[in-house]
Amino acid sequence: MVPLVALAAAFSVGALLIRSQGVNPAYAYESLFSYALLDGSGLTATLQKVVPLVLCGLAVAIPLRLGLFNIGGQGQFMVGAIGAAAAAYALRSAPGIVTIIVTMVVGVLAGSMWASIAGLLKAARGVHEVISTIMLNSVAGGLIDWMLNGPLADEQVPYPASHAVPGSAQLPPIGVVPIGLPVAVTLAVATAWLLRRTTIGFRFETVGRNRYAASYAGISIRTTTVVAMGIAGGCAGLSGGIELVGVEPYRYQDGIAASLGFDGITIALLARGNPIGTIPAALLVAAMRAGAPHLALDTGLRPEIVDMVLAITLLFVSLPLVVKLIFRKHAAKGSQLASSWGA
């Protein structure tokens, strides 16, 4: 309910903005979505973007179960992609299938490791994950700049970029369906199952709901923190790897990450932390991203209008979260008062 209200509100504010540019909002939205969902090349682009967005959404949604806010999906995606690029370059003469598998594994591990740094800092020193993941995003940026201008640089191209993945390891879409789509959907379903049906998920949920009861039950808050961040980073890293082998130009270059990691936050919040919910949420965001250039051509609006609508969506969708946080603090205080009456 909350996500729908937030979306409606954001689209209404967006409509006012579009109106102010002298364009009919209904026409603009129709143009945006009809291209993104009904046009062949538009749909290809949309589905292409759904893959990393679902995975980056999961990277935020999983830690959210424990009450951790992973802002570092962007950095984890980038590190996963560059790790995959390095692996693909190292295995450039290996058979394609080997390159693909190793590339994916390296992508997952790289992203997972990157997020685990934040998890370990939190577990060992209590460093707030919002701070550490934001800073790790910047560190990832610097690291990749150096790699693209040094060890991984492809001298053949006039801008900083890695070598392209060898042709045998490239996985173009089949029709309009990108190869990563079934992977992303499966992973979202698997995550839902992990949270609901496994003891790992039970640990996550217990820590998120009552950390005192968790430690009483012998659940290590430190270990679950590191594990959850590790899994989250693995999702983002995998999405970096898939992007590298599945999307043109099959190499790491500037802009590959776009704002995927940050869109992941919007998606996770729209999905209210529900892994399955990331699929429709990612589809919506992907459609808007994919349709933006067409919208600009069709109506003369700046494509950034889509950024604005998405930003407003994030704002509205996080409002109840903020309200709830405040409310929960009050509730906690209330129950404390109630349980310690007379203390």
Partner: protein, 534 residues
């Protein structure tokens, strides 16, 4: 204590006349849901008098002062301040009418200086807008000289020791005209030296005419400074006595109660081999002060050992150390032949220890989980409730259905959230969970606190049944009745040590009262005010 004795004799123990009464409570009642936090409380305090509100956690002390300070409204009854019975609207109104309150958790801004903290809310200004810090400093010096509370106006709060922070808090309360000063567990965070200093300050304030109400569960403090003491128990005033007509032992007995004798049907115990052996255990509390100080005890199979004592004598830390939730400083905890001293909570549980925690809401349950999930909180990771990391939902549900019936958990279904249950039913969930695994050792801390009589009977019966089935039970309770009716053996704890072990059926309450107050067995009671317990 010397300060206490320097107080003018006139102020001590003399009941004030009605004209002098600063505060009078008439039939005050306050309930939270089904729990009667305060029932029909009547008390009074006069100018220059120090009154202690003594009672265990949950006795209703904080609720009472919250009403006096306008933080919450009474359901019934009147609060009369200096003859004026207009209801108190809010804390602001209370302050205006001459009431000051020092909260248990300080309300200070850590990064600001003492002077800045004291002027918050009524800052002196110069030329309309400029903050006049010189005036603020002056005010602090005047206040601190007037009341004999030494503080440096320019010190930052976060750099000050806790005792000094509390002085600032008291000064803050006194920066308005205060006829009645309320202190909520003022010594809970203080070291013994700081406590003595505070007690001296209170005596001097009272000598200057301020009426003081202070909340505590520490007998020594009551006897050291208070003129009169009101003893609260389960929301009621169970007695009021001038401190020079009582002693620690009698106060302890009043606190833990002797009105209802709960008799539990049980056969004599037939103890087997030692299950729990605690030797020379030393545990520190959250303030890093020694709470458990060389504690030793043995609990055998088929026996209930009760720990009797006034709350705050190390019981909580003892239980947490045994249950693996707190690392002891030294000493050993053995379960049968295994050394479990360094085990964490999960390993301790796996080794066969069930633990009913003292704080049900905080540790015992996850309020937003279903009853079924709460019932596997301690065993979700083992078969049949999970296999290879996969939770077996049907096993979890069957477990819940069986326990719900066995422990008479009153709920719509096993899918209802634990948070929706009443206190007694929440506690049944905890007890059911901890006893379902048939632990070799059951550690039960305050197993019936705040629950209804029906649940009390059920929980007591289950504990005895567990004993009869061969479990060792360590029972820690603030209710002496509970300890005496359940335990086969009673160990009295004082200042983190066992001061006496007695057979459960041959206990003289007065004797236990003396022991809980820290007296050696067999020694007749002495005047505590001069003797103290230090």
């Amino acid at each position: 204590m010397t300060q206490a004795e320097s107080r003018p004799e006139a102020a001590r123990g003399r009941p004030p006349s009605t004209e002098e009464r600063v505060l009078e409570l008439q039939g005050l009642s306050k309930s939270y849901g089904a729990v009667h936090a305060n029932s029909d409380i009547t008390l009074h305090i006069g100018r220059g008098e120090i009154v202690a509100l003594l009672g265990e956690n949950g006795a209703g002390k904080s609720t009472l002062v919250k009403q006096i300070f306008g933080l919450t409204r009474p359901d019934a009854g009147r609060i009369v301040i200096k003859g004026d019975s207009t209801p108190i609207k809010d804390p602001k109104d209370a302050i205006r009418r001459g009431i000051g309150m020092v909260h248990q958790h300080f309300q200070l801004v850590p990064v600001m200086t003492v002077a800045e903290n004291l002027i918050l809310g009524h800052e002196p200004v110069r030329g309309g807008i400029r903050l006049d810090l010189a005036a603020a400093r002056m005010m602090v010096r005047e206040l601190s000289e007037k009341h004999g509370l030494a503080v440096d106006p320019d010190a930052r709060i976060e750099d000050l020791p806790v005792g000094a922070q509390q002085r600032v808090e008291i000064l803050k309360a006194l920066s308005h005209r205060v006829d009645l000063l309320i202190l909520d567990e003022p010594t809970a965070v203080l070291t013994p030296q700081e406590t003595d200093e505070l007690l001296g300050v209170l005596s001097e304030l009272a000598a200057a005419g301020t009426a003081i109400v202070f909340i505590t569960h520490k007998l020594r403090e009551v006897l050291a400074v208070a003129d009169r003491v009101y003893v609260l128990r389960r929301g009621r005033v169970v007695g009021t006595v001038p401190t020079d007509e009582t002693d620690a032992a009698r106060l302890a007995t009043m606190m833990v109660g002797h009105d209802v004798i709960l008799r539990v049907d049980k056969k004599p115990s037939t103890p087997g081999k030692a299950v729990l052996s605690v030797r020379d255990l030393v545990v520190r509390d959250n303030r890093r002060l020694t709470a458990v100080d060389g504690f030793s005890i043995e609990v055998r199979a088929g026996e209930i050992v009760g720990i009797a004592g006034v709350e705050g004598n190390g019981q909580r830390e003892l239980v947490e150390a045994i249950a693996g939730m707190r690392s002891p400083l030294s000493g050993t905890v053995r379960l049968g032949d295994r050394d479990i001293t360094r085990f964490n909570a999960a390993d301790t549980n796996a080794a066969g220890v069930g633990h009913i925690p003292e704080d049900r809401e905080r540790h015992g349950i996850v309020a937003s989980y279903s009853i079924a999930d709460n019932l596997v909180l301690n065993c979700f990771d083992s078969e049949p409730y999970s296999r290879h990391w996969i939770r077996n939902i049907s096993a979890i549900r069957e477990h819940a259905i069986a326990l719900r019936a066995e422990f008479d958990i009153r709920s719509a279904s096993i899918d209802a959230t634990a948070g929706s249950l009443s206190g007694g039913n929440k506690q049944k969930v905890v007890v059911a969970r901890e006893m379902a695994a048939r632990p070799r050792l059951l550690v039960a801390a305050q197993p019936t606190r705040g629950v209804d009589i029906g649940a009390i009977e059920l929980i007591h019966r289950r504990i005895v049944e567990a004993r009869d089935a061969g479990a060792a039970v360590l029972l820690v309770s603030a209710e002496l009745d509970e300890v005496l009716s359940l335990a086969d053996r009673v160990a009295v704890i004082h200042a983190g040590k066992v001061v006496a072990e007695l057979p459960g059926d041959l206990v003289d309450r007065a004797e236990i009262g003396r022991l809980m107050a820290g007296e050696r067995p067999g020694v007749p009671p002495t005047d505590h005010r001069s003797d103290g317990e230090s």
